[in-house]
Each structure stands twice: as structure tokens, then as C-alpha cells.
């Protein structure tokens, strides 16, 4: 009995030791709303990301207030009227990476299946992107789209010609072995 427990503990230790985690606190996330009238762009350099190589789990989190716009009024409207950032201060994505060969150097196409949680609404998503191994770094990059409607982000008719219903999101993160 005692031996068994010892063995089990050792096993757990071993696997815990294998849990290689790659992290960053300054992932870059930008988005673009394109309409014939106006292009609106914003960027955050303050998103966090963590990738657990043992489980294949990849998670991002971005403070909504960290998105900056070229115009102060846009930023105010973004936080006050659309994202309601005081109520929903963060957007996050948590998923599992499929199709990754852990030890392969160079760029690999991956699909990450998980939950995108924004504006208090969680959506199951399969998001495609690339992951590039470079020694003790993983570079994660992706471009995907978010429909405002999917996350209950209401765009009133008055501004529907200025704000796109589908927002293009670009993400790049350099995760370092922790």
C-alpha cells in the first residue's frame, strides 16, 4: 500500500515536472472595424497568455481598458457603450490546441478549440492560427473574426454605417518558458 502511494506520488511529480508552461504578459491584440465610411482600429499590448505544453491548453486574457484608439471619444464609446468594460472588464479565450507537434521547430498550423468569453457571453469557437517553436519560445499568431451579435454587443442603427458588424481580430504573442 505504502509503496503504491509512493509510486503514485512519484508519477504525479514526474508529470508535474513535465508541465512546461510558456507565458507572456504583453501579447498584442488588435482589431479592425471596416466600413465604407470609416475604419476603426484599436490595439492592446497588455494581454496575457499561457500555454501548457503537457495538456495542450492555451489561454489568453485581455483587459478591455487596455485597448487604445486613435481618438479618445472612440475609446470612451468602446468602453461605455459597447463593451461595458466596468461590468465586463476582461475578454478571455481558453482552449486546447490540436495538431501541434511539440518538439518540431518552425511554424505549424493549429486549431484551438475552446471558449471565447467577451462582454459576458461565452461562445464555443475553433480558431485557426500558427504556432512557432523557437527554443524556449512559442510564437502564437492568429487572425479571426468576431461577430458583435454573438456577444450581445449592440450597435444602434444611427452608427451602423460607421461600425462593422463583424470585427477582424489580429493576435500575436511571444510566450516564454516559465
Amino acid at each position: 500500500m505504502r509503496n503504491f502511494t509512493l509510486l503514485l506520488t512519484l508519477c504525479m511529480w514526474a508529470s508535474a515536472g513535465h508541465a512546461q508552461r510558456f507565458v507572456t504578459r504583453d501579447a498584442q491584440i488588435s482589431f479592425l472595424s471596416e466600413t465604407p465610411l470609416e475604419d476603426i482600429q484599436a490595439e492592446s499590448l497588455a494581454a496575457s497568455a499561457i500555454f501548457d505544453m503537457a495538456t495542450g491548453e492555451l489561454a489568453f486574457q485581455a483587459p478591455i481598458l487596455s485597448f487604445h484608439f486613435p481618438k479618445a471619444l472612440m475609446e470612451e464609446h468602446f468602453n461605455e457603450n459597447y463593451m461595458e468594460s466596468e461590468q465586463f472588464p476582461k475578454a478571455s479565450f481558453r482552449g486546447v490546441v490540436a495538431g501541434l507537434v511539440p518538439d518540431k521547430e518552425g511554424e505549424q498550423m493549429v486549431t484551438v478549440t475552446g471558449t471565447l468569453d467577451m462582454h459576458g457571453v461565452a461562445k464555443e469557437r475553433a480558431i485557426e492560427g500558427t504556432m512557432t517553436r523557437d527554443g524556449e519560445w512559442w510564437i502564437v499568431a492568429s487572425q479571426f473574426e468576431v461577430a458583435c451579435e454573438d456577444h450581445d454587443i449592440d450597435i444602434p442603427k444611427v452608427v451602423s454605417e460607421n461600425i462593422a458588424e463583424i470585427i477582424g481580430v489580429t493576435l500575436r504573442a511571444e510566450l516564454k518558458l516559465k
Binding site: 508541465a19 507565458v23 504578459r25 501548457d52 468602453n79 466596468e86 478571455s92
Partner: protein
Amino acid sequence: MLALALTVVLSPFVSWGQDDLMNFFGEEEKPTVVTSAFKAGRIINVQSPETCGEGEMNFIIAHRFGRLSDGWYDLFGLDNAQMRMGLDYGITDRIQVGVARSTFGKTLEGNLKWRFLEQMNGGGSPVSLTGYSVAMRDGLRLPEDGIERKGVHRMSYVHQLVITRKWSPEFSLAVIPSLVHRNLVDRPDRPNDVSTLGVGFRYKLNRRMSVNGEYHYLLPRPIEDGLHNSLSLGLDIETGGHVFQLHVTNSRGMFERAFLAETPGRWQDGDLYFGFNINRVFQVRETR
């Protein structure tokens, strides 16, 4: 026994594994600035803590119509209006300068506003502090009464501190002590200096509309005959680039000296003026 041992051994690892991923995000919690306690630069008449963003210009056109109690003859005051046109500019996100002209007393004003302390979420100041100073120049023709007056006699000044707390996304409250100084007063019973203590609030009805109110209590007592405390109630409507503010007030002047220290009307006497402020923001310099 085995099961128990398994559970005991396994559980710390399992929970450790799950929590850790989230813990990583938890560690980064930093205090954040509480923004948008009010929608516009003014609650109604008085300053809110909001300033123009850096490189932003706000054009404000405001009207106060005649007395509602004037009835049908003046279409409840709509036949005659006082107007104020103002331009504010954000030097930084927290420092703003402005100029304005009112038809009331043909008054020209220059003002400076500085939100020098921000309210923080998650550690830091529980309130924001904003200083506001305005110099006003009376532009009316001087009466020919044989008394010699100089340019400085036209000047008056108001200094105030706007102490604001946004209690919730819906409700913000401001306490606003003000000091009014007039270089020259035209009545012997009128003091050169008057101070007031004001309160203002905003309650958001939805994402685009809010109810606003403000009240200014004249200090010290007893106050000059025929003057009253200023009380205003209104509605803010935001439509993209504009903020429309509609209100009813017993103060007709739209600059600080007039509504803080020289409000002759009273609500209970029907001395009510309907009015509006329209705020239009332009980005004149892209800075970010």
C-alpha cells in the same frame, strides 16, 4: 482505503493544475482608472470631472430660454433665449483649456480645468479631484453715472474643486465647493466674495441616457436679498459624437458667477428656464 489514499494524493495535484492556469491571470491585477463618471464636461451648469481627451476639441452651444411661467405669450419662454458658445481643448487627457462667450452680460470667459487625481479601482484613490478656474469679463456698456471704472472692474473669478465618486456604472456623485470673487459689485449689500457648496449627480437610465441634477447652496448665510440657491434637473442623451443635455433650471446665466452667486429665480415661484447644452467633439490632433 486505497480509494481514500488515491483521492488524498491526487486531489492537490488536480486542483493545483486547474487553478494555476487561472492564477497566472489573477496575478496581474493592477488598479485601473475609473472613467466616465459623467458624460459631458458639465453636469448641467456646473463642471463635471470630465475633460476633453488629448487633442480633442469640444464645441458647446447652450441655450436657456425664457421663463416657463411666461405662458403662451412667449411660448413658455421659447421666444427668447440666452446663449453661450464655448470651445474646450484637451492639452492632455486631464488638462483642458477653454474660452466661451455668453449673451448674458455679454460675458467672455477663459477657463482651465485639471483632473489632478483619478478615482481608481482595486487600490488607489476612492474619488477623483478636479480643479476648475474661470475668469469672466463683463462686456456690457458702462453706465454713464460719473463713476470711473477700469477694465479690471469688469472681471470676476470662480475657483472650484470637483470631488467625484462613481459609485457604480450607473451612479456618480460630485461634491463641488466653489469660491466666487467679483472685483466690483454694483450694490452695497453685495459682497465681493461668495462661496457655495454644491452637489451633482448622474444616474444612467441606459447606455445612452442619464438623469442629472445639481444644487448649489449659497454660503455664508444670510445671503443677499433676492438671490437663491441654484437647482437644475436634466437629461443627457448621447448619440455617437454628440451629447445633448436638456434641462430645467432656475439659473439663466451659464457661466459660474451667474448661476452660483447671482440666481434671482426660485423654483416655487415658477422662475424656471428650459434649456439645452449640445456638446460636439472633434479630434483636431491625433495623438495616440
